[in-house]
Amino acid sequence: MKVTDLKGAVTAAPPERGGEPAAGTLADPVRRARGPLDPRRLARHLSFAVGGFLLVGWIVVALFWPHLAPADPMAQHPDLRMRAPGAGHLLGTDQFGRDVLSRVLAGARPVLEVAPLATALGVGVGSLLGLVCGVRRGLFDEIAMRVLDVLAVFPSLIGAVVVVALAGRSTTTLVLVIGTFFVPIVARSVRAAALTEREKPYVEAARLRGEPFWSLLWREVLPNIAGTVLVEATSRLGDAVFAASTLSFLGLGQPPGSPEWGASVADNRVFLQQGWWTVLFPALAVGSLVVGVALVADNLRERVAAR
């Protein structure tokens, strides 16, 4: 059913009084909260489609680059140094005669190894902390939040640089460092959502039923704040991509010679005037992945907010 408002805009008809509300509407919060987000509706948004395409595309590249790359991304060819983009090398070659296209494709893997793992760490630990603090409150909540406050105000990039410099660079170190700096951000968001939920009747009802604390968290509260967690995860994934590339750009990420995008930009930026393509394409790769993740995150955030 359609109705026309005073300005002539066509809007969805409100549910009929006393009738069965449509699934996924405000009239059915619990069912809507527990139901999966409808990807078909999200896909209607062009930005989501573009974001999804970029994200999935790079994931596919990260997984299958050995089959996609036209050349060995590490193989040097002194006679092919600094060739401009053209037929032989679509994106040109770098200072060692390495194929830039192959390096851009191969560079997706280190980024997409670090970023999801760091995001999983940060969102996992942060969500757990936020959930416990928000539902339990009390002294534990106060202490945990103050500790996280201290961690949150510490400049994350500087902190990451210091830690990586001290611990040495490795994928594990990067994941731990980036993930750790996500914990306070995620924990605060999840705690805020949990604080809202804990006051709701269904939580009180569960308490009165004598449901154990952890069961209360997992079975009652968590499903109702899943949207918040999902939004945090996608937002942090974009941040993680950027953080991993930034650390590599600073020489603290991947080992020397890695095709990782941030490292490639750093290695080639001194040749910007002689070979712009050696910098532009890795930079575009970072940008496209970050934008793709951001577009997806924005759409999810809007959806959750609308709920």
Binding site: Q76, F96, A165, F271
Partner: protein, 555 residues
């Protein structure tokens, strides 16, 4: 970003290891006997004739620097440079920017020109006696410091005593190692300084020249670390302002000993950490020239935007050092296998932009007059690699290569080349301060890792490489190589005055190193310096990054 070495062993900043040249050095035509006999300064300066020729791209008229080169007297020029990572102090400095700035203010007994020829400055003549163990330098008369204090022999003695005092931690100590010790300098009258050496050393004038860049002559009461506050010297300019973050300003020294020079009224130096930013400043005209240019960046720009690039040959080298006392390099065959696995022309192209000359795993650079000519050039030989490793009982050679950031490209090329013959190289990149830090006697990475890359800036004599790097127990002997025959030949080389004898001893040294391979020398490189030919005349490059603006003018 341009990466300029802060390697404490560099005789200058590392542009020599990063700014190579295609010019094959012209062999010395004049004998060393003239130097040893200590005749007139002209003959002495010809000691090393034309070690490397110089060319200038984009400004052919600047290859010669006589007079003002047709430029205008007066005016101020602006040069760009990276900020100095070390203190602006003549005694302790070891980075290219600090050295260049000090050289505008303080002078040396002898200058070392871009072709490694000795040029009289504060000393007008020098002579040896006692079989080369005693050297006397006659000082130029009428020289005064910028505060009016006259230069005399006692002042020069005080300057060298300061360098020889270990408490002052001067980089010059390494150059004097086994040659000159504290107490070896004396004043003979007001105008003669006498150096009594530990052993005969026919190249000694180089050690008191700009080639040993800390040997700038300072006032007797100079206190180490006070140069920015009291920049008093006998050089062509006066330091009027200095900010480690932004730059420095200089004005002409009216008391400079060489009447009429310098031609410029002043010099401004602006610091930029990023080489690309410095290059853009040059292209836009914000600066008129660069003090330390990165050859692979500036050479492609020669001829555009009135940018000229002066290139000069040299003896800078990045050495691949292999620990002969640690597995897997305890066996000579393994070290030789690595040497035969390398594609030297590929290194020359990939690392040095094709500018430089091939090395042959010894330290007598082609630029040195005594360089051997009968030693076959080592080339890549994959079959030989296999047979050598097989003889050593190694199926698959794998080792870790340590290096600091400036040598990253070199390390990547080596890794790629060795991979092609089945040798696996794990890269261990370290920050420069860590790589050259630590205890120099027990654990510093550049002297104690199994295999490493170390950039050595150009030296005017082979002994300055050989003594510290490969003589038994040399202070910077990272390979721990010990060969009494080489030690004896090195000593004989230093003491010899006859060119034939020196060449013979150099041959012994070269063959020993080539056979035993404690070090691998792929390429000898030079330097480049970029400037605006529409703004400057007479600016030249220098193998060691040195800066002489006495004859530079505005265009």
């Amino acid at each position: 970003m341009a990466e300029f070495s802060t390697n404490p062993i560099d005789i200058s900043v590392n542009p020599t290891t990063r700014a190579p040249t295609t010019e094959h050095p012209v062999r010395a035509l004049l004998t060393r006997r003239g130097l040893f006999a200590g005749a007139g300064a002209g003959g002495l300066a010809a000691f090393l004739a034309a070690c490397g020729s110089s060319t200038s791209d984009g400004d052919p008229g600047t290859a010669a620097t006589s007079g003002t080169g047709g430029g205008k007297r007066g005016g101020v020029i602006t040069l760009g440079a990276p900020p100095p990572p070390t203190a602006l102090d003549p005694v302790t400095m070891y980075d290219g920017t600090a050295i260049a700035l000090v050289q505008l203010v303080a002078d040396y007994l002898i200058w070392l020109d871009p072709d490694f020829r000795l040029q009289p400055r504060l000393a007008t003549a020098w002579a040896s006696s006692d079989g080369g163990r005693t050297w006397s330098f006659t000082l130029r008369k009428g020289v005064v410091f910028s505060d009016g204090t006259p230069l005399d022999a006692a002042t020069v003695k005080a300057s060298f005593d300061r360098l020889l005092d270990p408490a002052n931690k001067s980089s010059a100590l390494s150059a004097f190692d086994t040659v000159l010790k504290a107490g070896g300098v004396s004043a003979s009258g007001a105008n003669t300084v006498v150096f009594r050496l530990e052993r005969p050393f026919s190249d000694f004038p180089y050690l008191v020249s700009a080639g040993n860049y800390n040997s700038a002559v300072l006032k007797a009461d100079y206190k180490v670390g006070t140069f920015p506050q009291k920049p008093i010297g006998t050089g062509p300019f006066l330091l009027t302002s200095y900010n480690v973050g932004t730059g420095a300003s200089f004005t002409r020294n009216p008391k400079y000993w060489d009447a009429g020079k310098p031609y410029l009224e002043g010099v401004k130096v602006t610091f930029r950490k990023d080489a690309q930013a410095d290059l853009l400043a040059l292209q836009s005209g914000a600066i008129d020239g660069q003090i330390l240019s990165q050859a692979d960046l500036v050479i492609p720009l020669a001829g555009s935007n009135s940018i000229a690039v002066d290139k000069v040959g040299g003896t800078g080298v990045t050495v691949l050092t292999l620990r002969v006392d640690k597995p897997p390099f305890t066996r000579k065959e393994v070290r030789q296998a690595v040497a035969y696995a390398l594609d030297r022309p590929g290194v020359l192209t990939s690392v040095y932009n094709g500018i430089g000359v091939l090395g042959n795993d010894h330290l007598i650079a082609p630029a040195f007059p005594a360089a051997p000519t009968d030693l076959p050039q080592r080339a890549k030989d994959a079959a030989k690699v296999t047979s050598l490793l097989s003889a050593a009982g190694i199926d698959h050679l794998r080792f870790t290569l340590s290096f600091d950031v400036p040598n990253k490209s070199y390390a990547l090329v080596i890794q790629d080349q060795l991979k092609r013959v089945g040798i696996t190289v794990d890269l261990d990149q370290q920050p420069s301060d860590k790589f050259y830090g630590g205890n120099q006697d027990t654990d510093t990475p550049w002297l104690f890792t199994t295999a490493n890359l170390v950039g050595w800036a150009g030296r005017p004599t082979p002994s300055q490489f050989i003594i510290p790097m490969v003589k038994s127990h040399g202070v910077w002997n990272g390979s721990k190589y010990a060969n009494p025959a080489l030690d004896a030949a090195a000593n004989a080389y230093d003491a010899a005055t006859d060119p034939a004898e020196r060449k013979k001893q150099a041959g012994i040294i070269a063959r020993a190193l080539n056979e035993d391979v404690p070090i691998i020398v792929n390429v000898w490189n030079g330097a480049a310096r970029a400037y605006r030919s529409d703004r400057i005349k007479g600016l030249r490059s220098h193998p060691s990054g040195f800066l002489d603006l006495t004859t530079v003018t505005r265009a």
